[in-house]
Symmetry: C2
Subunit: 275 residues, 2 copies
């Protein structure tokens, strides 16, 4: 069915976590084993700091090495490629998302899944906005690092309690978390742009709107934007965005509830179903 001859060609590289060199390389007796005090954890931590501070555009193997007091080539002892490094940094970002419960599904009956879902979505958003460079990487890599997996597990555990069927759960997960991903990606980049321009979000927004107004070609659309802005109840850019995010999540929760009710109906109507 597929043109894959089982075992041919070069091995497919999927992820540091899967095809990479065994992680154990870092942890020998103690870290003073390494002349420069280098190990994967330190390299990852400094990468994350640099990416936050200077942006992905200025992040290079040479820059990172300089920060670590070492030549660029030393890094290749710990990592096969720059992409590996970015995957490590990305997984470290996921570590910042506190997940509600580790494993035990005991206290689940206590707290509402709605509450937990909103909470986790808010945390995911906060992390993506705090590290805008991470969003493109989430799209790029497989996200199978331990921290990413913990996050996925938490998401699944919460959505499992909605009462949706398994395939409904998958759809709901996609709806909620791809939304948060898309929303936060755009938000994070905008925040970053403002910071780079040295403007506040409202000032930047006004500047862009002003520039649009000057373009005769876009004047019509500009009027639409202004009008919409007023209708939305005004306020700062951040207030408007906050309202949009909250409304969208409420909408998604309402959607989940409705889909669940529909599944129940069709179950009752069709009699006992298999599986």
């Amino acid at each position: 069915m597929l043109q894959e001859p089982d075992r041919t060609g070069p091995p497919v590289r999927t992820s540091v976590w899967l095809d990479g060199r065994p992680v154990a390389r870092t942890r020998r007796t103690d870290r003073t084993d390494h002349p420069s005090g280098l190990d994967r954890d330190r390299i990852t931590a400094v990468s994350l700091r640099l990416l936050d501070a200077e942006g992905p555009g200025k992040f290079s193997m040479r820059r990172l090495a300089a920060e670590l007091g070492v030549t660029a080539m030393s890094l290749y002892w710990y990592v096969d490629t720059k992409d590996d490094l970015l995957e490590l940094a990305l997984d470290a970002v996921f570590a910042e998302i506190e997940v509600p419960v580790a494993e035990g599904a005991e206290t689940d009956e206590e707290t509402d899944w709605r509450e937990q879902l909103l909470e986790l979505a808010a945390r995911y958003r906060a992390v993506l906005v705090r590290h805008p460079w991470a969003s493109p990487l989430i799209g790029k890599y497989l996200n199978v690092g331990p921290r990413s997996m913990d996050f996925s597990a938490a998401v699944k555990a919460i959505v499992a309690r909605t009462g949706l069927s398994p395939r409904g759960q998958m759809g709901a997960i996609a709806a909620v978390f791809q939304f948060v991903y898309g929303f936060s990606t755009v938000e994070g980049h905008f925040v970053q742009r403002c910071a780079e321009a040295g403007l506040g979000q409202d000032a930047y927004f006004r500047h862009a709107m002003g520039a649009i107004g000057e373009q005769p070609r876009l004047a019509g659309a500009f009027a639409g934007v202004e009008e919409t802005r007023e209708l939305r109840g005004g306020g700062t850019v951040e207030e408007m965005r906050e309202r949009d995010f909250t409304f969208a999540l409420d909408l998604l929760v309402a959607g989940i509830e409705t889909m669940r009710a529909r599944e129940e109906e069709s179950e009752a109507g069709e009699g006992p179903e298999r599986s």
Copy 2:
């Protein structure tokens, strides 16, 4: 309130469409005016072709210039920076999304907004998957090119007919189209990865799953994945993804309907509201 001294520092660069040189530079008498037959449209078209064919990683000013039979520096006559070029290519991508109606809101009563929303979402997704390099750019730039604006206008027009309040409309737009954006971004990258690895989507998926299974650390999560896969009804990777996308959109439509009903209720309960 904001530390913006009204007029200071270097002018803020927002977008080719706003701060860029006037577009007119391209169209003089006829295009044979230009010795090399170069103009913005041709440069944009070739950029798009190269980005599709070779990926964003291999796309450079030098590579593009070579394709156009010209030195890299010639391009800077038409464009201030590589980012400008990418913004132009991105807007060209939006041109591929056919929007239902141009302006006239006449036949609106005829077709259901649900139908139109699903249709537009599907087209948006198709375009993002066809041009995976475009997704990160949507996050990066302001998207105020004429084609992007046409798309936004179409989105707004459709959602306006849901009966939601203006701020509800904004939230609904965010929920639906940020979801499609997130979903399609991940999908597009995955498709691209498979193509690069020379594997089909199922083969790549199986390869990755196999690698996960070999990692003792991730074995637990792996079991979860396999289990989920079965519960979801199996089928190919593409079939499962298709089901997720459809379910999520149904969920979103249901959510819109519910939110609208709630708005109606609270309006009736509170009596006439201002605005």
